[in-house]
Amino acid sequence: MTQYLLLRHREIPEISRLEVYRQHGGFEAFRKAVTEMTPDQVTEVVKASGLRGRGGAGFPTGLKWSFMDRKSWPHYVVANADESEPGTFKDREIMEGNPFQFLEGVAIASYAVGAQRAYIYLRGEYQHIARWLDEKIAEMETAGLLGERLFGTDYSLRIYTHLGAGAYICGEETALLESLEGKRGQPRVRPPFPPSVGLYGKPTVVNNVETLTNVPLIIQNGAEWYRSMGTSDAPGVKIFSLSGRVKRPGNYELPFGVTFRQLIYEYGGGVLDDRPIKAIMPAGASSSLLRADDRLLDTPLDYAALRPLGGDLGSASVIVIDDTVSIDWVIQKTLRFFKHESCGKCTPCREGTYWMKHLIDHIRANGKEEKQVQLLLDVARQIQGKCLCALGEFSTMAVVSGIERFGEDFR
């Protein structure tokens, strides 16, 4: 990779200054969209680019935009900057380093779906970033890039930041919307999905920060250009948040199709103490544990490729586990997290995470009794497929895959 598309501040340190960003073509895409393209054309370009949601689900972004209910107005755009998945730290770097490209993405998305209000929902711990973005938004307003009748057209847009209060669940889009409305952050029943009934009951697009940051480049350079990178399943680039037992943890912006072996050894500098890799969690704490064999390490990564191997790429928050780490310890860590973060709305997650947490504590404290291990597995399976939102399901991923695939650690 010679050139960054998203983490451009690594090459252009001053890109967070408006004039520098503009010197490098900043806001030309937004101007082009508003002055030269219809909203539907913008959506079509994004659709054609094959851009998929970077928050974890990988849903085609343009398709999501096209679902907005045109019989119900106003429309809203919400940027999901709640980044709370353990092992995920990519959105933070984008917003801190390259804020205008992200904000431009928000603006283009808003234009595409006819929203005149956009909200950036940040996790509570990102208070400094919220203040930083507020400054950037103010600069954009002063420069006439936000506000009334932009670029001499009828289009007007305002962007606001909003801080969460420290709940993992608020990364779930409907819980995020509840929280944004000033209510208790708990997921809603879906359907209806936000493009039909979202913020304040109105059609809303909720996109991840990284997803939106791709958009200006796509509008500027075209769908074909974007498709030329990555794989056919997942065109473009992805920021991999690499952590765990690696020598150089951090964010790595790479095209889809890169392999774990490249990521960990070429970019991450290899495993600490050069130990063998035992397992990989490709999507943070909500990942399945993947056994790190050659097939896994050499699979070109995109959303489709990992499924046959029993995992999901998710937000690409790659946690590397070497042979010094016991899987029951990993499970205990994830369960502690999920028990703490369960919002309590639905029964299986609320009661199940509490139960699993107690079971793994017993197992780790009192020896790995087969009966207890089996019970833990049963409880996890009993949660699966019954929760109100995906986060409840996530709590079982490490448990089920860990016990099934790393049975030796439970004997």
Binding site: A167, I169, R184, V189, K339, H340, E341, S342, C343, G344, K345, C346, T347, P348, R350, E351, G352, T353, Y354, W355, H358, H362, L375, D378, V379, Q382, I383, Q384, G385, K386, C387, L388
Partner: protein, 813 residues
């Protein structure tokens, strides 16, 4: 016309309107899908995951829009990989629902097992035990053994007061949010919420005072476990020990259908006593709800001050002696009158009316609110139901704080507004109902005479009234006495006539009366006594039934006292002054009917045995009448009602059988019918009948006896305009014996604007027209300047608006 959808549930074909939830469709097919968080009166939230079922939907060919068929010509079904909640999914054509498949049963079992991991299983000491959905569903769907380690159970506080009426047991709570949703969505008092998250979630009250709602008791009915219990009933009895008697609430003119649960118990000296009051379903009156006054204020029935034997000259006497003494007085003296209140049943009032006619004496209604003649003529007529009203209709509420005066009407009107009815409110101060009103008109206390004219003068309001397909007007007595309310009733009737809302059902005037059966008295032709003091001074014998004019301060003790025949249930000041005391039964000890403000006649049934030597009021009157050669029914309430229906125009054609009819209601209620919707009781004993109306569209509106411009008391510089208002919890004889309500009743007070120059809680002397009463100051910024609100039935005998003064006692001394 709603589109109908046919689907199959466990192999049963059922056709229901589009948009129906799967759980409701199943119920229509006779299948109970287990639920906890779902309640048929509330929007589903899909939280508890108890109603997990398998749902298959026909696969549709994207090109043709037609179902894809399999080799047998049957539509191919697509099942999601996972179970779905029956409470959040709506039906669709050709849907196949499996509620009992192995997979569905496993899901339901899993949910029960999860719920029980943090439930204390203290059924043996739990009030809900025996009528508990969690208990029932555990038996039906749960695992026989828990795999959860007992020592891992969370132990939480078990006696958390959410206000003084409702207790929370945090261990038992399964966090279904029914109570939270009831309070915010149905009651409109969002005073409960979740605190914390995950397994630490708990129900808390966010209001000050805590659980600030008059509907709080309903949360204990809909709680699917024993987490919410009333301070009144908790640890009081087991449900299976209780007997049930259908009744009608006696606390206000709404006429909520209720059930009295009773039990014979040792600690009540072996008597059969009332243990609790539950709502009884009547979707035309109170849905599944009752207010806290109706639920908790029944203790007067077992008050130690109940009269148990007749008295003559203050001494216990036999019935024979008492009746003899009374009839002797009635025979001896010339000037006589009868004074009775709307606490009595229709049968009682009819007997009194007949007796008065026989004797040739006036029969007066003891009330502070007039206008009944207009409600008799222009009230709601047969076939009316507030539930019928929708978009295009209008409701006008004038001079009333409906939330305080008739809470269930408040709920019904709020619901109507939410269904699209145009709600117009005219009141001198902000009230809770205003939050749901489309138009609000504020007027000054004293300007009630111009009120209807001012509504007509507002172009938007006048248009809304004129163009309403149906119009119902509720009028109250906020800030008014007898004469002003009568004038207002006539004005309202005039408005109904002018806007063309007379002569049809679902249109008319509703009086927000002070007592449960005032409407019955108006129908019978009772009239209010214009001046009680004068009456006391004029007549030689006064037969007072169910009224306490002396205790209420309406008759000054220094005046001349006639021979008093007093018939009542409780010891009071009037009883103490009586020459003869006749002991009546509480309405729970006998049969009878009440006529609600909506003119619905409803039956109540005996719940507990007679107290002491008491007799039903109509029977006592019949025994007296007998001595004057008038034969009235003295035994059977049914026959007494028949006589009444034959004689009173608007009651014609009604009998007890007709009043006992029930219509099928949605949602189905009751443990047998629908075991998971709560402890609201099914209605098998009658939904009542609405009376025929007198006025037709062409009738001329009768004019009030008092000239309309008559007593109008306006604020005046240097004085305080004192106006009577109604609050739900007062110190009336039917409320104050319930010690649980003491805090709600509060102190005798005058309510002032914060700028009036008095401190909250200050003790002051209230003076008006020769009266002096010591009161506590309460402040409320909704009170207009120069006005003092005086709650009724709190021991301040202010019947009419009056100019008065407040003094701090020091200055007086």
């Amino acid at each position: 016309m709603t589109k109908m959808v046919t689907l199959s549930i466990d192999g049963i074909q059922v056709t229901v309107p589009e948009g129906t939830l799967v759980v409701d469709a199943a119920r229509k097919a006779g299948i109970n899908i287990p639920v906890f968080c779902y309640h048929p009166k509330m929007e589903p939230v899909g939280m508890c995951r108890m109603c997990l079922v398998e749902i298959g939907r026909p696969m549709i060919d994207r090109n043709t829009g037609q179902p894809i068929l399999d080799e047998n010509g049957q539509p191919k079904l697509q099942f999601l990989g996972k179970l779905e909640t029956a409470c959040t999914n709506t039906v669709s054509e050709g849907m196949v629902v499996l509620t009992q498949s192995e997979k569905a049963r496993a899901g339901q079992k899993a949910t029960v097992e999860f719920l029980l991991t943090s439930h204390p299983l203290d059924c043996p000491i739990c009030d809900k035990g025996g009528e508990c959905p969690l208990q029932d569903l555990t038996m039906a769907y749960g695992p026989t053994q828990s795999r959860f380690l007992y020592e891992d159970k969370i132990h939480l506080a078990k006696h958390v007061p959410l206000g003084e009426l409702i207790y929370l047991d945090r261990e038992r709570c399964i966090l279904c949010a029914r109570c939270i949703r009831f309070q915010s969505k149905i009651a409109g008092d969002a005073v409960l919420t979740f605190d914390e998250r995950g397994r630490s979630s708990q129900i808390i009250t966010s209001s000050e005072p805590p659980f600030d709602s008059v509907f709080s008791g309903n949360t204990t009915d809909i709680c699917p476990v024993g987490a919410l219990t009333t301070a009144d009933f908790r640890f009081g009895a087991r449900p299976w020990e209780l007997k049930a008697a259908a009744s009608i609430c006696s606390q206000c003119p709404v006429g909520c259908n209720i059930v009295y649960n009773t039990r014979r118990e040792a600690r009540s000296d072996g008597r059969i006593v009332i243990k609790r009051v539950l709502p009884r379903q009547n979707e035309e009156v109170n849905d599944l709800w009752i207010c806290d006054k109706g639920r908790f204020a029944y203790h007067y029935i077992e008050s130690p001050s109940r009269l148990s034997a007749p008295r003559v000259a203050g001494q216990p006497a036999s019935w024979k002696q008492a009746l003899e003494k009374a009839s002797q007085a009635l025979r001896t003296w010339q000037k006589k009158a009868i004074l009775a209140s709307g606490r009595l049943s229709n049968e009682d009032l009819y007997a009194l009316k007949r007796f008065a006619e026989k004797m040739g004496v006036p029969a007066y209604l003891y009330t502070s609110m007039g206008g009944g003649e207009w409600v008799r003529r222009y009230g709601l007529r047969a076939g009316s139901d507030l539930g019928h009203l929708g978009a295009g209709d209008a409701i006008l509420v004038v001079a009333s704080d409906l939330y305080e005066e008739a809470p269930i009407w408040y709920l019904r009107v709020k619901q109507a507004a939410e269904r699209g009815v145009t709600l117009i409110l005219a009141n001198p101060r902000f009230t809770r109902l205003e939050r749901f009103a489309h138009y609000t008109m504020r007027y000054a206390y004293g300007d009630e005479g111009e009120l209807i004219g001012r509504l007509n003068a507002d172009a938007k309001i006048a248009q809304a009234l004129r163009e309403a397909r149906n119009l119902v007007i509720f009028f109250g007595s906020e800030g008014m006495g007898l004469e002003q309310t009568e004038a207002l009733a006539a004005d309202c009737a005039q408005l109904l006539t002018e806007t063309g809302h007379v002569g049809r059902s679902d249109n008319g005037l509703v009086g927000i009366w002070p007592r449960a059966n005032d409407q019955g008295a108006w129908e019978m032709g009772f009239e209010p006594a214009p001046d009680l003091q004068a009456l006391f001074e004029e007549v030689d014998v006064l037969y007072i039934v169910a009224a306490d004019p002396v205790g209420d301060g309406l008759v000054r003790p220094n005046g001349r006292k006639p021979f008093l025949i007093v018939q009542d249930i409780l010891e009071n000041e009037t009883v103490r002054q009586a020459d003869v005391v006749l002991v009546a039964c509480a309405y729970t000890e006998r049969e009878g009917t009440f006529t609600s403000g909506e003119r619905r006649v409803q039956r109540f049934y005996p719940a507990v045995p007679h107290w002491g030597e008491c007799k039903a009021d109509f029977a006592i009157t019949a025994l007296l009448a007998e001595r004057f050669g008038l034969s009235l029914e003295a035994h059977s309430a049914a026959r007494a009602f028949q006589d009444l229906a034959a004689a009173v125009e608007t009651f014609q054609g009604l009998d007890y059988a007709a009043l006992s009819e029930v219509r099928s209601q949605w949602p189905p209620t009751g443990r047998a019918e629908y075991p998971f919707s709560g402890t609201a009781q099914p209605n098998a004993q009658g939904m009542g009948k609405t009376l025929a109306a007198v006025a037709e569209a062409s009738s001329a509106v009768p004019q009030p006896k008092v000239p309309r411009e008559a007593p109008r008391v306006r604020p005046e510089e240097g004085t305080l305009l004192l106006v009577p208002i109604t609050r739900l919890f007062d110190a009336g004889s039917l409320v104050s014996p319930s010690s649980l309500l003491r805090e709600r009743i509060g102190q005798r007070r005058v309510i002032l604007h914060p700028n009036a120059g008095f401190e909250q809680g200050a003790q002051v002397l209230l003076e008006w027209e020769g009266h002096q009463v010591e009161v506590t100051v309460a402040l409320d910024e909704n009170v207009p300047a120069g006005v003092g609100l005086v709650p009724r039935s709190m021991g301040i005998p202010l019947q009419q608006p009056a100019r008065g003064h407040l003094h701090t006692p020091e200055r007086v001394r």
